[in-house]
């Protein structure tokens, strides 16, 4: 019951928000934040609740409206609620009501992706995710270029996912398998490679991973900060979640076969993202490219077949979600004040905006992997895991890219906050309490996760180990 409410509640609430007059954007945003906070509480209350299941199809394959918590999805739902809460609070301006409504629809759809225990339902919510982001994006620029790139890339992925799901259903006879340890899934080699290719393409595009990433910087740059906080923090994790929840248990052999390819793609993403982040002048694009780099690292971890690295991946998925949402919200606050994101035109804000500088600093430090914050816990686990599994060179390349993270994150921070105060920048007041409230839960999240990643880890030890034996075994 609670799982159903977690999915349908935000969607219905989002549609109802259109009843709020356009001019009352702040009220709509506040209501959206309230709904997000409620979903957070609901998720904690319902974590051990029963699954909700309703028969959907019996032919050509069995499928159900089957929603339930899995060990990973629980944390992702919490992360999503935090990001939505922060994003909604940060909303203002003429379009606040529409964006708030779409954010809630997006939250519901993504909760559906994470909570779906049926592959067809997963595909349904996966495709549903596209619509709210597209609707937010078409407002963004005069030509909506980013919107088209986002839609066409991600729909291409969504369609290959659909085809792979149909083939999976036909071959296996049921799609009601996610998170079911007793599911009997036997996919022959002939079908397996195609089904895996379909899933993998969708997941790689959504994450995104080089060479499917070109939609990402444009989308992140054009989305309002509130929406990009959610898309970057959580939607990008849908692909990685897919690899862990669907590919690992059911297509382990194909994952092992694709390992070299994925390592190459992941490593390129790691290095290319870091270098691009060093060179970008647009502050949002710096963080966008840094995401490309960080997510490449997680891809390495998932495909390494190492239980340790996979645990690190889980921590890092959450860590990245928390700090990238915080970073984008802080950058949104900067952009709103100074009306630019150009690092060359910004500078010296720290003196007048100490609170904002503090928030950005915390986010940047978490992103560059400072020990004690969540990014570090994830990175160290992943690197150790990859290294121990015998992939020495990828580990070394990843280490170099992580070192570069310090360079671009500090460059970002210094470019905005330090240095002489530029005379042509308007002076605005420091972070408001509302903006602080938006970022605070995220910061608290990555502090806690950095100090004690234990709850996430122990919760998963058994599951991940079980999942991994199959991958390692097929190596």
């Amino acid at each position: 019951m609670i799982v159903t409410a977690l999915v349908l509640g935000p969607i219905v609430a989002g549609l109802l928000l259109y009843a709020v007059p356009r001019e009352r954007g702040k009220i709509a945003a506040g209501l959206a934040a309230l709904v997000a906070a409620l979903t957070f509480a609901l998720a904690i209350a319902g974590a051990h609740g029963a699954d909700a299941s309703l028969r959907w199809l019996s032919r050509p394959f069995a499928a159900s409206f089957h929603l339930g918590f899995g060990p990973i999805s629980f944390w992702l739902v919490l992360l999503l609620a935090l990001a939505t809460f922060g994003g909604a609070l940060a909303l203002n301006g003429a379009r606040a009501r529409n964006v708030a409504a779409q954010l809630l629809v997006l939250q519901g759809a993504m909760n559906g992706v994470f909570l779906a225990k049926d592959l067809l339902l997963f595909a349904l919510f996966w495709d549903l995710m596209l619509i709210p982001v597209f609707l937010v994006l078409i407002d963004a620029g005069p030509y909506a270029r980013a919107a088209w790139k986002y839609l066409l890339y991600n729909l291409a992925g969504g369609l290959t996912l659909l085809l792979a799901t149909a083939a999976f259903g036909v071959v296996v006879g049921t799609t009601d398998v996610i998170g079911d340890p007793n599911a009997h899934v036997a996919i022959g080699a002939a079908w397996g490679i195609w089904i895996f290719a379909g899933f993998a393409l969708a997941f790689l595009i959504k994450t995104p991973v080089f060479p499917f990433h070109t939609w990402m910087p444009d989308t992140y740059a054009d989305l309002p900060p509130a929406a990009v906080a959610i898309v970057s923090a959580v939607q990008s994790k849908a692909g990685l979640y897919g690899f862990i929840a669907i590919a690992l248990p059911f297509l382990a052999e194909q994952m092992a076969q694709a390992r070299t390819l994925m390592f190459v793609l992941g490593t390129i993403a790691l290095v290319y993202g870091a270098l691009a982040a060093l060179a970008e002048r647009d502050a949002k694009r710096v963080v966008a490219y840094s995401s490309l780099s960080h997510l490449g690292l997680i891809l390495l971890a998932i495909f390494s077949g190492s239980a340790l690295a996979l645990q690190g991946a889980l921590v890092y998925i959450l860590a990245h979600g928390l700090f990238s949402a915080a970073l984008f919200l802080a950058l949104g606050a900067v952009e709103e004040r100074e009306e630019t994101r150009d690092l060359a035109r910004l500078g010296g804000l720290g003196a007048r905006n100490p609170k904002l500088a503090g928030a950005l600093m915390l986010g940047a430090l978490a992103a560059l992997g400072l020990p004690g914050l969540a990014g570090f816990s994830g990175e160290i686990l992943i690197l150790t895991g990859i290294f121990k599994a015998g992939y020495v060179w990828p580990a070394i390349v990843a280490l170099v890219a992580i070192v570069l993270a310090s360079a671009y994150m500090l460059r970002l921070f210094q470019g905005i906050m330090n240095g002489p105060q530029l005379p042509d920048l308007p002076e605005r007041r420091d972070m408001t309490w509302l903006e602080g409230l938006a970022i605070a839960p995220l910061v608290a999240g990555f502090l806690l996760l950095g100090l004690s990643p234990g709850p996430v880890l122990t919760y998963h030890t058994i599951v991940t180990a079980a999942e991994n034996t199959r991958v390692v075994g097929s190596r």
Binding site: D139, A147, L151, L155, G158, L159, L163, V170
Partner: protein
């Protein structure tokens, strides 16, 4: 239950035909009542359309009651059962929606005539749904088409006459193909019954006849490369008639195609004879969607979109599996609601319910008329195959059936076509949600509010079918 050839038809035979017969007879009543009006007035429309609506609902309910019973009537010439009833009901739904859209279109003294012609066309399509021999197919097809030739011309626009003439000539050509194919099939087997064709041995003559027959149907369905007439005809015809053609004509013709493909071909060679059909479906999905990319007129765009959508449906026939047939029927029902919904939205944007509606007219619609824009967005999402609509569910079922039948390449083409179509449909969404200066947009509202009923029903059906995809289980037997 059925009478053999040479016997007198029994009452059961006429019972099977009753719904189509009812729809064919009521135009006489409508025309007769219309004689009593001395002067024009709104009542004249209301009475004509009202009689038609009530009658159609009665016929639809009567026909629904027949659903569990298979009746093989007139010695196997007309087979009424789950299969034909689903198609006929789709025709009835399309006709009802067309009437709702058309009540404000045209002159007062023309409405009875157009309504009558529309109902005759609908009865032709219903006849096609149950037709199980070549003669009845042709009879139904001509009954359907003759009404439409006139209806296409029923507009003040100069392009309407062009549309009608083009439709007349090209449709006649299609009928020629169909007739020639029928003649060859008769020559090869000595019978016009589908059942006899299925039992015959395959000769080159039979294969050629079947090929020509399918070409004729492909013309009517506007499958690529026989599609070129469709956008022009759709553009010129009055809007409600375009809506009717985009659904009812296709439903009737698809029923014939399905029955022919599934039941009228010798089973050992059916796959080889039908192979070119899958190529046509693939071409339709690609070229239909590519063609729609460039369109700026809403009716032309929906014409190209319809070409692609029929491609999806024919794809489901691939391998002639029973599941594929069921999903084709499901998707056709879904397409009916999504497409009629979109047409109803367009009708609500023209003052007289029949204007040329270019894409720029949609600019900023979300701000001006949020409900209309919301409904249109929902229908477009469905046509693009995204959830939560029957467009999504139907498509994945078709994919599963196609992959299961061993036509993975066709499923791949369907995916590619859908990817292209996303740009087509979401371009309209983008235009509707764009910020524009209201002064630059011609904002017309239809004085007729009845299309709102169509919008509401179609939206509800699009959603409900997407969540609960009822597929007709009782689709076989197609012949006996």
């Amino acid at each position: 239950m059925s009478s053999g050839l040479g016997n007198f038809p029994s009452s059961a035979d006429y019972g099977a035909l009753l719904p189509a017969f009812l729809v064919a007879i009521v135009p006489l009543l409508i025309l007769f009542v219309d004689l009593f009006y001395r002067e024009s007035g709104p009542w004249r429309r209301v009475v004509a359309v009202g009689i038609a609506l009530v009658w159609l609902i009665v016929a639809g309910v009567l026909q629904g009651l027949q659903y569990p019973h298979d009746v093989i009537a007139f010695g196997g010439a007309f087979v009424q059962g789950g299969f034909s009833i689903v198609f006929s009901e789709i025709v009835i739904v399309a006709t009802i929606a067309t009437l709702l859209l058309s009540i404000g279109v045209g002159r007062d003294d023309q409405v009875a005539g157009t309504t009558a012609l529309l109902l005759w066309s609908a009865s032709g399509a219903m006849l096609m749904a149950g037709a199980a021999n070549l003669m009845i197919v042709f009879l139904g097809l001509e009954l359907l088409s003759l009404g439409l030739y006139c209806l296409c011309a029923m507009s003040k626009r100069p392009t309407a006459r062009e549309s009608a003439l083009k439709y007349l000539i090209l449709s006649s050509m299609a009928s020629g193909f169909l007739l020639y194919g029928s003649a060859l099939l008769f020559g090869a087997t000595g019978s016009v019954a589908f059942a006899a064709l299925a039992a015959a041995t395959v000769t080159p003559l039979l294969a050629l006849g079947a090929g020509l027959f399918i070409v004729g149907l492909a013309f009517k369905l506007s499958l690529v490369p026989f599609h070129a007439w469709t956008p022009d005809v759709y553009e010129g015809a009055p809007l409600p008639i375009t809506a009717f053609m985009s659904v009812a004509t296709k439903a009737g013709t698809l029923a014939v195609l399905a029955r022919f493909a599934y039941a009228a071909l010798p089973s050992e060679r059916a796959a080889a004879i039908l192979a070119p059909l899958w190529v046509l479906a693939a071409l339709s999905m690609l070229i239909g969607n590519l063609g729609a990319l460039a369109q700026t007129d809403m009716k032309r765009l929906l014409a190209y979109s319809g070409i692609a959508q029929v491609g999806y449906i024919v794809t489901a026939f691939a391998g002639t599996t029973a599941l594929g047939l069921r999903y084709a029927m499901l998707y056709l029902a879904g397409y009916t609601f999504m497409n009629l919904g979109a047409f109803a939205v367009v009708a609500l944007m023209a003052r007289d319910g029949d204007a040329v509606v270019g894409l720029p007219r949609f600019a900023g619609l979300a701000r001006r008329r949020p409900w209309l824009a919301g409904a249109m967005t929902f229908f477009l999402i469905g046509l693009a195959g995204l959830p939560p609509t029957i467009g999504f569910t139907g498509k994945i079922l078709i994919l599963a059936a196609t992959v299961g039948a061993g036509y993975a390449w066709l499923a791949g083409v369907l995916i590619a076509g859908t990817a292209i179509s996303a740009y087509v449909y979401f371009k309209i969404v983008r235009i509707m949600f764009a910020e524009v200066d209201a002064a630059h947009v011609r904002d017309e509202r239809s004085s007729n509010v009845l299309p709102w009923i169509a919008v509401g029903v179609c939206a509800a059906a699009t959603f409900v079918l997407g969540i609960f995809p009822f597929t007709p289980s009782n689709v076989l037997p197609l012949l006996k």
